[in-house]
C-alpha cells in the first residue's frame, strides 16, 4: 500500500501552484478595499511555504482565493493543472474536494461528530464507499497519533488533538495543496511544535502546504517564507 499521506517527493520538484497578478477588491459600502493586489508566486510540490504579515494584510483573502472560497477580482492561479479563477461556481465544490484541504485557526470541526466521523465527512462528499471511508479516516488519524481518540467528540479533545483531526480531514482526499490559516494561533508552544512537526513530515513526503502564520518560530521551520504587506505579496526578484 502506498503511503497514505502525500506521495514520493522526487528530487526534481515541479511547480504545482502558479499565481499571477491575483487580486481581490472588496467593497466596504462605497469604499473599495484592496485586500490583495497582484499577488505573484510559484510553489513547488512538497514545499512548506509560510506566509507572514500583519493583521488585515490579506493573508486569509489569498487563501480563500486559492481555495475557491471566494472569487478573484483579477489575475490567475493555476493549481495542479486547474485554472482556479476560471472554475465555474458549480464545479468549485469538486475542486475543493479533489485539490484542496483546509486547516483553520479555530479547528472548525463539526461538534456533533466524532473525530473519525469528522474525517470521514470529507470523504463522504467525494462519494467514497462507507467501508473505505472508515478505513482511510482511521489510518489517517492513527498516523497522526490519534488512534485512541477515534470516537471522541471535538469537545473531548485538546486543542492540539482537534487541530490534528482537522489536518487529517484536510488530508483525507489527498489534495494537491493544503491551506492552513494560522493553524497554531490558538495553541500552546508545545502543541504548536507538534503541529509544525506534522506539517514538516507531510512536506517531506511530498505534500504541498501553505501556512499563514504570525509566529516566527513556525516560519523558521518552513522551507520558505513570504511576506505580505497591505495586500502585496510576491516571490519575484523585481518586486
Amino acid at each position: 500500500m502506498p503511503d497514505i499521506i502525500g506521495g514520493e517527493a522526487g528530487p526534481e520538484k515541479e511547480i504545482i501552484l502558479k499565481v499571477e497578478n491575483l487580486s481581490r477588491t472588496y467593497m466596504q459600502g462605497k469604499v473599495p478595499v484592496h485586500a490583495l493586489r497582484s499577488a505573484c508566486l510559484e510553489v513547488r510540490k512538497g514545499e512548506l511555504l509560510a506566509i507572514m504579515g500583519p493583521s488585515g494584510s490579506g493573508k486569509s483573502t489569498l487563501l480563500a482565493l486559492l481555495g475557491t472560497l471566494e472569487k478573484a477580482s483579477g489575475g490567475k492561479a493555476l493549481l495542479d493543472g486547474v485554472e482556479l479563477t476560471e472554475v465555474p461556481e458549480k464545479l468549485q465544490p469538486r475542486i475543493r474536494r479533489e485539490k484542496i484541504g483546509f486547516v483553520f485557526q479555530h479547528y472548525n470541526l463539526i461538534p456533533t461528530l466524532s473525530a473519525l466521523e469528522n474525517v470521514e465527512l470529507a470523504l463522504r462528499f467525494s462519494g467514497v464507499s462507507k467501508k473505505e471511508r472508515k478505513e482511510r479516516a482511521k489510518a489517517l488519524l492513527e498516523e497522526l497519533g490519534l488512534g485512541d481518540r477515534l470516537t471522541h467528540k471535538p469537545t473531548e479533545l485538546s486543542g492540539g488533538e482537534q487541530q490534528r483531526v482537522s489536518i487529517a480531514r484536510a488530508l483525507a482526499n489527498r489534495p494537491a495543496l493544503i491551506l492552513a490559516d494560522e493553524p497554531t494561533g490558538e495553541v500552546d508552544t508545545k502543541t504548536r511544535d507538534s503541529i509544525v512537526r506534522v506539517f514538516k513530515s507531510l512536506s517531506e513526503k511530498g505534500q504541498t502546504i501553505i501556512v499563514v502564520t504570525h509566529d516566527p518560530d513556525v516560519a523558521k521551520e518552513c522551507s520558505r517564507v513570504l511576506r505580505i504587506v497591505d495586500g502585496r505579496i510576491s516571490d519575484r526578484k523585481d518586486f
Binding site: 472560497l69 471566494e70 465544490p93 475543493r96 470541526l109 463539526i110 465527512l121 462528499f125 467525494s126
Partner: protein, 371 residues
C-alpha cells in the same frame, strides 16, 4: 447522509422535541377532525347507497308544514311511470334530546316495510306485516343500545311495542331507525292522517330525475327530491362540514409547520459556520439542501408519527366513551392516515425549504467568518 440528519435532530434534544410536538399537535388535529369527517362521509355514502332508488315527494310547504296526507299517495301512484308509492311518517325518537342522537321513528305501511328499507336486510325476525300495530323493527344501534332482541318489549312514547325484527348493521342512518306501522305512528303522535313524505318508486326503465319532475307537475302542492338532488343536497352539507373540519385541522398543522420553519431558521443561523466548513471541505449545494431539508422532513415525519399515534389513541378513547351516547363517532381510515402522514412530511419539507435555501446560498467565506 441520513445518519447526519438524524444526528442533527437528536443533538438538539429540547428544541427538536418541542418542534416535533408542535407538528404532532397539528397532525393530531388533522386526525381527529379528519376522523369526524370520515365517519360522516361513510354514513353519508352508505345512506345514499340504501335510499338511492326512491323519489321523495314532499308537501310544497315543507316537511314540517303538514299538509301532506295519506290521500296524496294515490295521486302520486296515478302518475305514469310510478311503480309504487307509499307515505311515511318520520319523527325523532327522543324528543327530549331534540333529536341530537339521530334516532328516528319511521312510520311505514306494514306491507311496504321491506321495500321501504331495501336493500337493508334483517338480522333477525321479520319485517312488519299487515295487521301489525304495536310491533317494531329496530336498527342495529337501537338493538345494541337497548339490549333488544326479537320478542323483547320496547317503550316508545309511553307505549310498549313488540320487537319483531332487527336490521343488519349498515353504517347508515338506518342503524338508528325505529320502524313501526304508519297508522300506529299517526295515532301515537296524534297527527291524524298526516305523513312526512311519500316514497315514489320509479319503473325500472324510467329515469328517476325525469319522473321526479313529472310528479311535481302532475300532483298539485308537492315538491320532489330526486335521488340525484338528494345526493347533491347532502353533498353540499357534507362539503361545508368537511371544509370546517379539514380547515381547522389544516390550521393546526400550519402552526406546526411554522414551528418547524422557526426551528430550522434558528438552527441554520446557529450553524452558519458549520455550513461554511461543509462547503470548504467540498460539500455541494445539494448536500447542504439535503441535510437541511432532510432535518425538517425528519422532524415532520416524527411529529406526524407522534400526532397520528396520539390521534388514534384519542379517537379510540372518545369512541369508547361515545359508545353510550352515540352522538358522533370518529372513523380512522387508511386514507386518512396516509393523508395525515403525507401532510406532516409536506409541512416539514415546505417549512424547511426556505431555511435550506438560505443555508445553501451562503457564501462559504462569509459563513466561515461567522462566530
Amino acid at each position: 447522509m441520513f445518519d447526519l440528519i438524524v444526528r442533527n435532530v437528536t443533538s438538539r434534544k429540547v428544541r427538536s422535541t418541542l418542534t416535533i410536538c408542535g407538528i404532532a399537535l397539528g397532525i393530531f388535529a388533522v386526525i381527529v377532525m379528519g376522523a369526524m369527517s370520515e365517519n360522516f362521509h361513510q354514513t353519508f355514502e352508505r345512506s345514499m347507497g340504501v335510499t338511492s332508488d326512491k323519489i321523495r315527494v314532499f308537501a310544497e310547504s315543507g316537511v314540517f308544514g303538514g299538509g301532506l296526507t295519506d290521500d296524496r299517495v294515490s295521486d302520486v301512484l296515478r302518475v305514469a311511470g310510478v311503480k309504487d308509492a307509499y307515505g311515511l311518517l318520520m319523527t325523532t325518537f327522543d324528543e327530549d334530546k331534540m333529536g341530537m342522537t339521530g334516532k328516528q321513528i319511521l312510520g311505514v305501511p306494514p306491507e311496504k316495510s321491506s321495500v321501504a328499507l331495501s336493500p337493508v336486510e334483517l338480522k333477525a325476525g321479520r319485517f312488519l306485516s299487515p295487521g301489525d300495530s304495536y310491533h317494531v323493527v329496530v336498527g342495529s344501534n337501537i338493538k345494541r343500545e337497548y339490549g333488544l332482541g326479537v320478542g323483547s318489549k320496547f317503550e316508545i312514547h309511553d307505549k310498549y311495542f313488540n320487537v319483531v325484527g332487527v336490521l343488519d348493521y349498515t353504517g347508515s342512518i338506518f342503524d338508528n331507525a325505529v320502524i313501526i306501522p304508519l297508522e300506529t305512528a299517526q295515532d301515537l303522535y296524534n297527527v291524524g292522517d298526516s305523513i312526512s313524505y311519500i316514497f315514489a318508486v320509479p319503473d325500472e326503465r324510467l329515469d328517476a330525475e325525469l319522473l321526479s319532475k313529472r310528479i311535481e307537475l302532475s300532483v298539485k302542492g308537492t315538491t320532489t327530491l330526486s335521488p340525484g338532488e338528494l345526493r347533491t343536497q347532502a353533498q353540499q352539507s357534507f362539503m361545508i362540514f368537511s371544509v370546517i373540519t379539514i380547515s381547522s385541522g389544516l390550521l393546526a398543522a400550519i402552526i406546526g409547520g411554522l414551528c418547524v420553519m422557526n426551528t430550522m431558521l434558528m438552527s441554520v443561523a446557529e450553524r452558519t459556520r458549520e455550513f461554511g466548513i461543509l462547503k470548504a471541505i467540498g460539500a455541494e449545494t445539494k448536500d447542504i439542501l439535503l441535510l437541511t431539508l432532510g432535518e425538517a422532513c425528519c422532524m415532520g415525519l416524527l411529529g406526524g408519527v407522534l400526532g397520528v399515534l396520539v390521534g388514534i389513541g384519542a379517537v379510540g378513547l372518545m369512541n369508547t366513551w361515545l359508545e353510550k351516547t352515540r352522538i358522533v363517532l370518529f372513523l380512522i381510515t387508511p386514507r386518512l392516515l396516509i393523508i395525515a402522514m403525507g401532510f406532516a412530511l409536506f409541512i416539514g419539507a415546505l417549512s424547511g425549504l426556505y431555511p435550506a435555501y438560505r443555508a445553501s446560498k451562503m457564501s462559504p467565506m462569509e459563513a466561515l467568518k461567522h462566530a
